[in-house]
């Protein structure tokens, strides 16, 4: 094989694909060929790099230079300057928010610096469609070790010792689950990989599939060996076409090479694995529903116990593990439980992947050691809140989790501490909210989601979420009544207690946590008809301050509903009966003018605007007249 001097690690995760990375790829290939660099420069398609907010992106090796927001038209310059002449291109490098100097090297960018990559150890470093790339990074070495030198009981013992807990949300100790399944006398046994990732804003599991599918296969095979399973399923939602494609390629490669199937690596152990696609019902992430879905039945949960580890798919003992749990296993088996259990906190070991989204500067996928604080995640890795706005809360655990307010920003993240503050680890979605986010609206959003996704089997979940949604909708519409808060406080815990499966048991969490920390916002909505964050459309009005409006016509021209009246150098006014409250006028009004304001509550209700546009000069004269009258 000829030596290369440059490797271009082009991210082809779903985010970058949507951002047009294949156009970048084409441009790179053309330019590399045009300069005759194809023997010196290689182009590698990797899975998700993680810094999704910068996509399409690539990392240039061996120098480790990070380029983001690539555009096809910039590629000719980049190839000539950097890959031919060796001069890295500053203007394509990452510039931290509110800074001017770019940071050339990946390792120096704060987003990457604080991370610890165990599960995502191969992200951006391998081509997920090449088995050789995975092998080169010690791929299947853990499986080799397990199959040749450990008894299944020893594997389970090691996993228990490592402290690994389920990464799907509930945090049940993985080794304990395995023990229950192993002890069941009934055979055959099954192991299922749960990649039915449905939380809004979460894409950890998808990215693991897309960047390192063999790690999941290796982990699942280790799990199968430990519990004594000969067959397994990978359950993945069909909305993840790229993840499915790459996983299928990896499965085919593993089968062709004898890493799956009969007599793996000549050790006598056999394990077969196949993909089952789900149709994207949120409840299928719940393990008994997931089993029903694979069995071809309606995806509804059933009462537990018996737990799937005892009576699972086809009535047989079944272990269901999350993607991240499985992908952690090769590292644990290779480096040992003692090493792994040093990472993290007393009760939560290892690392966790989070998708950091919402009102945050650095959007992306991060892997951090357990015990890291929210502050480190939001301000160091995440680079803070855009436009220097105030951090208000973060929602962890998706629709099943809760909002953690800014007062808990120094909270170390682990399973227990998140539970204590009324949230949960969940699968790892982390939605950051700023001062403009209305907490009642947020809880309505999540209840809308879970209400939609409730399978309807048990009435507390089905009707309870209906009732919650009705009240929340009323409150955000400005029709909240006395007693609504008390009603929510009574109903939410009831839904939690009486629901059969995890969906219903956790769906009230967003309501409960926002009531716990932001009750004043609920009260303001109900009694003052005011949305303190000025987000609920029914409770706000846009207003043009005549003292500031120069009559530039910018808002008037941009208003999509024609609600603004005025002419050049006349004070504009908004016709409240026509205004749809889209906020476009506020967006376009230049910062140095800032004549457009949002009002809520009393100031909105008692708002008096001019009847018709008048010349700005006339307004000024009128004001001057008024002030003279006052001083006299």
């Amino acid at each position: 094989m000829a030596a290369k001097r440059v490797e271009l690690m082009l991210c082809t995760g779903t985010g970058c694909v949507a951002g047009g990375c294949f156009r970048i790829k084409k441009a790179l290939e053309e330019e590399i060929a045009r300069h005759g660099l194809q023997d010196e420069v290689s182009l590698v398609q990797t899975g998700c790099n993680g810094f999704c907010g910068q996509g399409p992106l690539m990392v240039v090796l061996p120098e480790q230079i990070f380029y983001g927001w690539l555009k096809p038209e910039e590629i000719p310059f980049l190839v000539q300057e950097h890959f031919l002449k060796g001069r890295p291109v500053k203007k394509l490098m990452f510039v931290p928010p509110e800074k001017k100097e770019p940071i050339p090297l990946l390792g120096d960018i704060p987003f990457f610096r604080k991370q610890m990559l165990l599960v995502l150890r191969n992200k951006g470093v391998i081509d997920p469609e090449k088995l050789d790339d995975y092998l080169a990074r010690d791929g299947y070495l853990a499986l080799e070790k397990v199959l040749t030198s450990m008894r299944p009981e020893e594997v389970i013992e090691e996993v228990i010792k490592s402290g690994l807990r389920g990464r799907g949300g509930a945090g049940f100790p993985t080794g304990v689950k395995w023990t229950v399944c192993r002890k069941e006398p009934k055979t055959p046994k099954y192991v299922i990989c749960n990649c039915d990732e449905g939380d809004p804003g979460a894409y950890m599991d998808r990215s693991v599939f897309e960047s390192d599918p063999h790690a999941v296969i290796e982990g699942q095979t280790i799990a199968a060996y430990a519990i004594g399973a000969a067959h397994g399923y990978i359950y993945v939602r069909s909305e993840y076409p790229l993840a499915i494609k790459r996983m299928q390629i990896a499965l085919d490669q593993a089968k062709e090479n004898g890493l799956l199937g009969e007599d793996i690596l000549g050790t006598g152990f056999s394990f077969d694995l196949e993909i089952r696609e789900g149709s994207g019902a949120f409840v299928c992430g719940e393990e008994t529903s997931l089993i029903h879905s694979i069995e071809g039945k309606s995806p509804e949960p059933r009462q537990r116990p018996p737990f799937p580890a005892q009576v699972g798919i086809w009535g047989c003992p079944t272990v269901i593990n999350n993607v991240e749990t499985l992908a952690s296993l090769p590292v644990i088996m290779l480096r040992g439980a003692d090493w792994y259990s040093q990472i993290g906190t007393a009760t939560s070991k290892g690392t966790k992947i989070f998708s950091l989204v919402g009102k945050i500067n650095n959007t992306g996928l991060i892997e951090v050691p357990m015990g890291i604080t929210l502050r480190e995640i939001i301000y160091e890795i995440g680079g803070g809140i855009p436009e220097n706005k105030q951090f208000k809360a973060v929602q962890t655990g998706g629709p099943s989790g809760g909002c953690i307010p800014s007062s808990h920003i120094d909270l170390p993240i682990d399973y227990e501490s998140l539970k204590e503050v009324g949230s949960m680890m969940g699968s790892g979605g982390m939605i950051v909210m700023d001062e403009d986010t209305c907490m009642v609206d947020v809880s309505k959003f999540f209840i809308q989601f879970t209400n939609d996704e409730s399978c309807g089997k048990c009435s507390v979940c089905r009707d309870g979420s209906d009732a919650l949604l009705e009240v929340l909708t009323r409150i955000t519409n400005g029709e909240g009544r006395e007693g609504d808060v008390e009603f929510l406080e009574e109903l939410a815990p009831a839904v939690k207690d009486a629901s059969m499966c995890g969906l219903g048991q956790t769906l009230p969490n967003p309501v409960l946590s926002t009531l716990r920390y932001f009750k004043d916002e609920y009260v303001a909505h109900i009694s003052e008809k005011k949305c303190p964050a000025k987000a609920c459309k029914a409770l706000i009005k846009y207003y043009i301050d005549p003292d500031k409006c120069p009559g530039c016509m910018l808002c008037l021209k941009n208003c999509p509903s024609g609600a603004i009246k005025g002419e050049s150098k006349h004070i504009h006014i908004i016709d409240q009966t026509v205004c749809t409250k889209c906020g476009e006028c506020l967006e376009v009004c230049p910062p140095k003018v800032s004549a457009v304001v949002k009002l809520s509550g009393r100031e909105a209700r008692e708002l008096k605007s001019l009847d018709a546009p008048i010349p700005a000069k006339e307004w000024k004269a009128r004001k001057a007249q008024e002030s003279r009258t006052v001083t006299k």
């Binding site: 490797e7 023997d39 031919l84 470093v125 080169a136 990074r137 090479n257 690596l265």
Partner: protein, 127 residues
């Protein structure tokens, strides 16, 4: 494809590791070929090719070949700088592919700078 045995897997893994050495980020030595317009015009591309060929033939996975801009001494192009960990960089000038191969053998493999082609030792001082 035939199913792998444990031995096959180990061999395949070792072989694969050679293919991704640029990604591991640990290098003992670095060969920088100066590729300003002057360097390219004087034949720097052939120098890069010669070095890369030698790296491949040697099987070493801790040597990086890279490029940089004009070094300022355009009349001596093509030029290259060889940096070995813990020793001062050596700059070579008026290279040909043959000279490059010789430098690779003596300096990279042998550990002794090829004095006859060297322009100097060390880098310019920064301001």
């Amino acid at each position: 494809m035939a199913k792998l045995t444990l031995d096959d897997l180990r061999k395949k893994r070792d072989e694969a590791q050679k293919g991704i050495y640029l990604r591991e980020g640990e290098f003992r030595g670095k060969i920088i070929v100066h590729m300003g317009t002057c360097g390219i015009a004087a034949g720097a591309r052939a120098i890069v090719a010669a070095f890369l060929d030698e790296v491949a033939k040697s099987g070493l996975n801790d040597i990086m070949v890279t490029t940089s801009g004009c070094a300022g001494l355009c009349s001596k192009e093509p030029m290259a700088t060889v940096e070995i960990l813990n020793s001062p960089p050596v700059r070579y000038g008026e290279l040909t592919p043959e000279k490059a191969r010789k430098i690779f053998k003596e300096h990279i493999l042998g550990g002794m700078a090829t004095v006859e082609y060297a322009l100097g030792i060390g880098s310019e001082r920064g301001a």
